[in-house]
């Protein structure tokens, strides 16, 4: 699309789920690019295919059509240096491992001394406000705490590309604000490329350099907004900025439009078709 040294390039991506006689076209035709070191937010109605897109980018799901390139090469399996925070945070934690081991697991592959690993783990847990829970099992934690463990795992991994699927859905407003700032500081410090799915339009505008808006299904990129806010952001001032308000209103209107077009008031159920029953 733009430059050629894009970190992530999605080209004509199409995904159809087939199981038995049921066929769902989750993604129709997606094309966009994310530069190295960019922070892009992705919004779109529930069920429009955001998770599907992320899983295709992560190399966990084979697209039906089109291609995904990460760092120049086509994606066949999960690219190295990638971290993912799954929407199903509870199920993405290993119930047989303590919180510490869960966060530490991906680090084991990285050649680093044990002490450094421990340090990274402790730092990451502290940064999500979970110090003291190291030896607990995930299922002994509350929903929001589990989600923060999953975030800590991604943070400790120090990835070069980070995919997050509604990572703050289960935490309270204050924690959410803190985590937003954590993600931004991480991004600025390490120069990570981030693709961030959220339902919160404020969050998308506050966090991102760009916001991609997906249509309801059949899903295409409906609109794209380059966020016109200073790189230095903070909860108090940025959110009070009139430009912020204007841009979130724009995104909101776009999403409304997307929904209106599919007919059903509040769902993305239109894409569900039954081939032969």
């Amino acid at each position: 699309m733009r430059k050629d040294d894009a970190m992530l390039k999605v080209d004509g991506l199409r995904k159809v789920y087939r199981s038995g006689s049921r066929e769902v076209e989750a993604l129709r035709d997606l094309t966009f690019t994310v530069e190295a070191g960019e922070l892009v937010c992705l919004v779109g109605p529930s069920g429009c295919g955001k998770t599907t897109l992320l899983r295709c980018v992560a190399g966990l799901l084979e697209p039906t059509g089109g291609e995904v390139f990460v760092d120049g090469g086509p994606v066949a399996g999960p690219p190295p240096g990638m971290a993912v925070v799954f929407q199903e945070y509870g199920r993405s934690l290993f119930p047989w491992m303590s919180v510490r081991d869960n966060v530490e697991l991906p680090l084991r592959r990285k050649k680093m001394p044990r002490s450094r690993r421990r340090e990274l783990v402790a730092e990451a847990l502290a940064s999500v406000g979970l110090d003291g829970t190291e030896s607990a099992y995930p299922w002994q934690l509350s929903g929001g705490m589990q989600q923060r463990v999953a975030i800590a795992r991604a943070v400790a991994y120090e990835p070069t590309i980070l995919l997050m699927d509604e990572p703050f859905a289960a935490v309270d407003a204050q924690t959410r604000a803190d985590l937003e700032d954590l993600v931004r500081s991480l991004w600025r410090r390490l120069g990570v490329t981030i693709l961030f799915v959220t339902h919160d339009i404020d969050e998308a505008v506050y966090l991102g350099q760009r916001v991609l808006m997906l249509s309801a299904s059949p899903t295409v990129v409906q609109d794209e907004l380059t966020v016109d806010l200073p790189a230095e952001r903070d909860q108090l001032h940025t959110r009070a900025d009139p430009r912020f308000t204007a841009q979130r209103a724009h995104v909101y209107a776009q999403i409304q439009a997307a929904k209106a077009r599919t007919g059903t008031a509040s769902g993305a159920a239109g894409e569900l078709s039954s081939a032969d029953r």
């Binding site: 087939r18 038995g20 006689s21």
Partner: protein, 268 residues
């Protein structure tokens, strides 16, 4: 709950059958080659070709098919009883923790008692009728199902269980809609285990007690030193096992289409 039947899975299933056949073919070739290279004497392990010839001879006779029928009857009846009892008792014991605690030691005491040790008892009660075979088959297969069901029932997701409880589903509805589907994958493994054990015991009982069936024919072949025939009969037993498993797998694909183990393998 329809089984996947789109075009892609079908070709894979065809490929699966081919792969399975090639595995069996490999075994046949191995057994043909082993005696021919002299690694084992052909007198004691005849090559595949001679076994198959003996099998063809056997299959041409009426009594052979009667024996197969007898064995399958004992197998099917025994398995049905064992599975029904194993599932019922397993769910009862598994769902009521007190019962589980009370019966655990007794179950562990009874399980390791070999069916062969019960042969005099079986003969005492039923002579060499179907009853003796059934007794031994049921005794051995029951435990297989029971243990699987117990582990399966313990595997219920607490959140799913709480959901059912919060809507005040009755005991029966919870068993039917929560316990049973959770335990089902375990039950399937249990049934597959029990199916083979039942076949093994049916044949063994026929061999030792002389109840009519394949086992009795094998015993005659053994005591007559008719080695190719004996192997041919063993092959028949094995093939019965393979057939039974094919059936079990088909049932599994149908009833567990929702389960991770099945849906995980359908290319999305």
């Amino acid at each position: 709950m329809t089984a996947p039947d789109a075009a892609a899975p079908r070709t894979f299933r065809g490929g699966r059958a081919l792969l399975g056949l090639s595995g069996l073919a490999g075994l046949l070739v191995l057994v043909e080659v082993l005696p021919r290279t002299g690694l084992v004497s052909a007198d004691y392990l005849p090559p595949t070709s001679r076994i198959l010839a003996a099998l063809a001879d056997e299959a041409a006779t009426g009594p052979f098919w009667v024996a197969v029928g007898d064995t399958l009857t004992a197998w099917a009846a025994g398995l049905a009883i064992a599975v029904a009892a194993g599932v019922a008792v397993g769910i009862l014991i598994g769902a009521v923790p007190v019962l589980r605690a009370v019966t655990a030691s007794t179950v562990e005491f009874l399980r390791p008692i070999p069916s062969v040790a019960l042969i005099p008892l079986a003969v005492l009660l039923y002579g060499s009728d179907l009853g003796s075979s059934l007794l031994l088959v049921v005794y051995a297969a029951f435990w297989q199902v029971l243990v699987q069901v117990l582990y399966g029932v313990a595997d219920v997701d607490p959140v799913a269980d709480e959901t059912a409880r919060s809507f005040r589903l009755g005991a029966f509805a919870r068993v039917r809609h929560v316990l049973w589907p959770t335990a089902l994958p375990y039950v399937f493994t249990g049934v597959r285990l029990a199916a083979a054990v039942a076949l093994v015991l049916a044949v063994t009982a026929e061999m030792i007690i002389g109840a009519p069936g394949l086992g009795a024919v094998i015993a005659v072949a053994q005591t007559s030193n008719a080695i190719p025939t004996m192997y041919a009969l063993i092959v028949v037993t094995g093939l019965l096992g393979v057939t039974i498993n094919i059936g079990a797998r088909a049932a599994e694909r149908h009833f567990l289409s929702w389960h991770q183990s099945v849906r995980g393998e359908i290319p999305a």
